[in-house]
């Protein structure tokens, strides 16, 4: 199994979730994150003082799938979250050694 960890734009989340659903992937976990990549920084201002701020809100989507599903998932996410502008995000593939469904206690590939 692999964990596909995609960091995408907030406004693309609905589309990505929809796309995964269409392909039959329902399970996923979302986290609100902040990120920086090639996107230019910004400057924030306090009462009289300035602060550089270069983190922008992003959303992390985690989907654990069987190894064979990885290309399709990558494809789906990338297609639906692309705008072509800097800041579109990244997808990372991380190995998962095991999975457990808490409700039933089952383990392995059929739990995801």
């Amino acid at each position: 199994m692999k964990k596909v960890e995609a960091i995408i734009r907030e406004e693309k989340l609905r589309a990505v979730i929809g796309g995964l659903e269409e392909n039959g992937y329902f399970g996923l976990t979302i986290t609100e994150v902040s990120g920086r990549g090639r996107q230019k920084g910004l400057t924030l201002q306090g009462r009289a003082r300035e602060y550089k701020v270069d983190l922008l809100p992003k959303v992390k989507v985690e989907v654990v799938v069987m190894d064979s599903d990885v290309p399709l998932i990558i494809n789906t996410i990338a297609r639906l979250s692309r705008t072509g502008e800097i800041g579109d995000g990244k997808i990372f593939i991380i190995p998962v050694e095991d999975a457990v469904r808490i409700r039933t206690g089952e383990v392995g590939v059929n739990t995801i």
Binding site: R14, E32, S34, L42, L44, Q45, L55, L56, P57, E85
Partner: protein, 410 residues
């Protein structure tokens, strides 16, 4: 001669109407996406500063100084000359002229703030400032003169507007319409869900608006008397009825939402505004029901069907609500309630109703076309709309270099 009770009531009413503008800032602020929260708040909040300064330097004079044209006042009150601690010769004869002037100023402030709801999430802040200043000068102040100023043509004509159905709501509503036409839709509308970032903030805003509206409407009696109590009651009953009505409408379509109930309350307050001191309080029930039905379906129609991106539905709530309220005044007004008013359809012929319709048309058309011209002017000079990247990043960062929740990482 100054009456202390009337003066106390007018002063506290002015304070309450002042309070409405930051209330509106929160009401609107809660409804946008988090990245535009401060920017939305700022568009209303800055009016407290900008409009006050302009109003006291010359706006009040354009609106209320004696004139002969009937279209705008003279320069008699510029920089508060002649506006003193004694009552004015014509307005609010039992309270200091300054109290009347500052009370009127609060109306100017919130009217400007109202239409910003249509353009949030994409207008350039500098453009908004410039437009607001022009609009106050060339649209708001003259319209106030037409309707409330000594010798104003709509006043002479006999149109009734107790607390600003035309001056405030129709005016703001049609301005919203014009600005949306000039600005276009928000990036991502309607494909992306744009859920309100904080409904508790919307509730806080609604609470302040409702509270302040007693000053707005009952304060417009300009005295602490039976008429004020009657306007107060009508105001409360209309808000309540409309809130419940909108709640049931949203229930019919899915669930009884808090956002819908709050919106209904505001719509009810809008509709009763022109009528409050002319109609019997119990008429607030049909008015409250009517405005919610009209507002709810206008919103569906404009936004869902026609894809018209008036961000926070200013036209549906204030434009349509104001029109309905002005016409309803033509139906339910009664001289038994206010001898200075007139009798509406229910008690007499079409006379008043017709006058109300004329005032709707006149104010609506003037606000719409005037705003188109002023907006175009601003667009050609500083530019109306932020860049695409700025819109994506959000106006809080791009226009104000601030984040609502600065301590957080996001």
């Amino acid at each position: 001669m100054i009456n202390t009770g009337d003066t106390a009531w007018l002063l506290i009413s002015a304070a309450m109407v002042m309070f409405m503008t930051p209330g509106l800032a929160l009401f609107y602020g809660g409804m946008v996406r988090r990245k535009n929260l401060l920017s939305t708040i700022m568009m209303s909040f800055v009016c407290l500063g900008l409009v006050t300064v302009l109003w006291m330097t010359y706006g009040y004079s354009i609106g209320f100084a004696p004139s002969t044209s009937g279209f705008f006042g003279g320069l008699g009150f510029v920089a508060l000359r002649g506006v003193g601690q004694e009552p004015s010769a014509v307005y609010a004869s039992t309270t200091p002229h300054l109290a009347f002037m500052v009370f009127q100023g609060m109306f100017a402030i919130i009217t400007v703030a109202l239409f910003t709801g249509a353009v949030v999430e994409r207008i350039k802040f500098s453009a908004l400032l410039l437009f607001a200043a022009l609009w106050l000068t060339f649209i708001y102040s003259p319209v106030a003169h037409w309707v409330w100023g000594e010798g104003g043509w709509l006043l002479e004509f006999g149109a009734l507007d107790f607390a600003g159905g035309a001056v405030v709501h129709i005016n703001a509503g049609f301005t919203a319409l014009a600005l949306v036409l000039l600005l276009g839709k928000r990036k991502g509308f309607p494909a992306e869900a744009m859920l309100p970032n904080s409904i508790p903030l919307v509730v806080i805003g609604t609470a302040i608006l409702w509270f302040g509206w007693f000053g707005f409407n009952a304060g417009s009696a300009l005295g602490s008397n039976g008429l004020a109590a009657s306007a107060f009651t009508a105001t409360h009953l209309s808000a309540a009825t409309a809130a419940v009505t909108w709640m049931f409408l949203s229930w019919r379509h899915n669930r009884p939402t808090v956002l819908g109930t709050a919106t209904g309350a505001v719509a009810g307050l809008v509709a009763i505004t022109p009528a409050a001191g002319f109609v019997p309080p119990i008429a607030a029930i049909p008015i409250g029901i009517g405005v919610s039905v009209i507002g709810f379906y206008s919103m569906l129609l404009l936004k869902e069907r026609l894809g018209f991106d008036d961000s926070l539905d200013v036209f549906a709530v204030h434009g349509m609500g104001g029109i309905f309220g002005a016409l309803a005044t033509g139906i339910f007004a009664s001289t038994a309630v206010n001898p200075a008013g007139a009798d509406g359809l229910m008690y007499a012929g079409f006379g008043l109703f017709f006058k109300q319709a004329v005032s709707v048309l006149a104010v609506g058309a003037f606000a719409f076309f005037g705003s188109l011209v002023l907006g175009k002017l601003v667009d050609m000079t500083v530019g109306l709309r932020v860049g695409s990247v700025e819109e994506t990043v959000g106006l809080d960062l791009s226009q104000h270099a601030e984040r609502a929740y600065g301590g957080s990482i996001r």
